[in-house]
Symmetry: C2
Subunit: 153 residues, 2 copies
């Protein structure tokens, strides 16, 4: 038996896979370009600020933020350093745990987010949701859920 023969993709799968690869490369690139052109924020900056402002306090432990974004800690650390240098967020010592820090949105960060959001959301609407039926949106969420579950954590 050739039981160790790889399970190659069927034509259907191959087509879906290649299209998906193209999409995951091009859509974020496009959104990033739109954000940079219309605001002071990059797409990663935007993500960080969205998650921070999701919470009332506008303040999150680095670890919590990392969990929400699902970023590696070193990536997050580097990015926070860059955002801190630009005055978008601030690190503050954490009273409860001497090792940790809390990340706080600054006024400038909040202002930048508010300025960037409308055009960004409109772009997402136009590029993605305007073309999809409600059923497709559900399918998209289901597919993402399924695969994310297989990725673990």
């Amino acid at each position: 038996m050739t039981s160790d023969e790889p399970r190659w993709l069927t034509d259907e799968q191959q087509r879906a896979w290649r299209q998906w690869l193209l999409l995951t490369a091009r859509l974020p690139a496009r959104l990033n370009r739109q954000l940079l052109a219309d605001s002071e924020l990059s797409l990663p900056d935007f993500d960080v600020l969205v998650h921070l402002t999701d919470v009332d306090s506008g303040r999150l432990r680095v670890l919590e933020l990392g969990r929400a974004l699902q970023w590696e800690k070193s990536r997050l650390s580097h990015h926070l350093t860059r955002m801190e240098r630009r005055g978008l967020v601030r690190r503050e010592d954490c009273a409860a745990d001497g090792r940790g820090f809390e990340v706080v949105v600054t006024d400038a960060g909040l202002a930048a987010l508010r300025a960037a959001a409308p055009a960004h959301v409109e772009t997402v609407q136009q590029l993605v949701f305007d073309g999809l039926s409600a059923a497709q949106v559900r399918a998209m969420a289901d597919i993402a859920d399924t695969v994310l579950a297989r990725l673990g954590d």
Copy 2:
């Protein structure tokens, strides 16, 4: 009328969107890690080699390769330089057009691709397709087609 009020995402859309963002961040990262662990290739390397070996001659104009991958030309140029340094591909002058180059897979590149492919395909199967129904695979392709069409080109 507040006709310039941004069209915020509905809850359904918001959920689908956030899951999709997570997926597009984490799945490529995972695939890249698997490739690097099990072979000499990164995910971008793999993409380049797949497209090159798609053609019988194993040789493509830089421009053609760029179109197939949908990469920016400078990204492709940088990446080819790195791959050339590692002996995976070779640039050759193009007879038909003095400005252009042809990219050729080397024996080492071909060997690396053949060595990396089985484990990579198996990983894609396990993480993605084993969890999805045939209908979901079709939905995935349709969604990708639709959004790619809206991205233009």
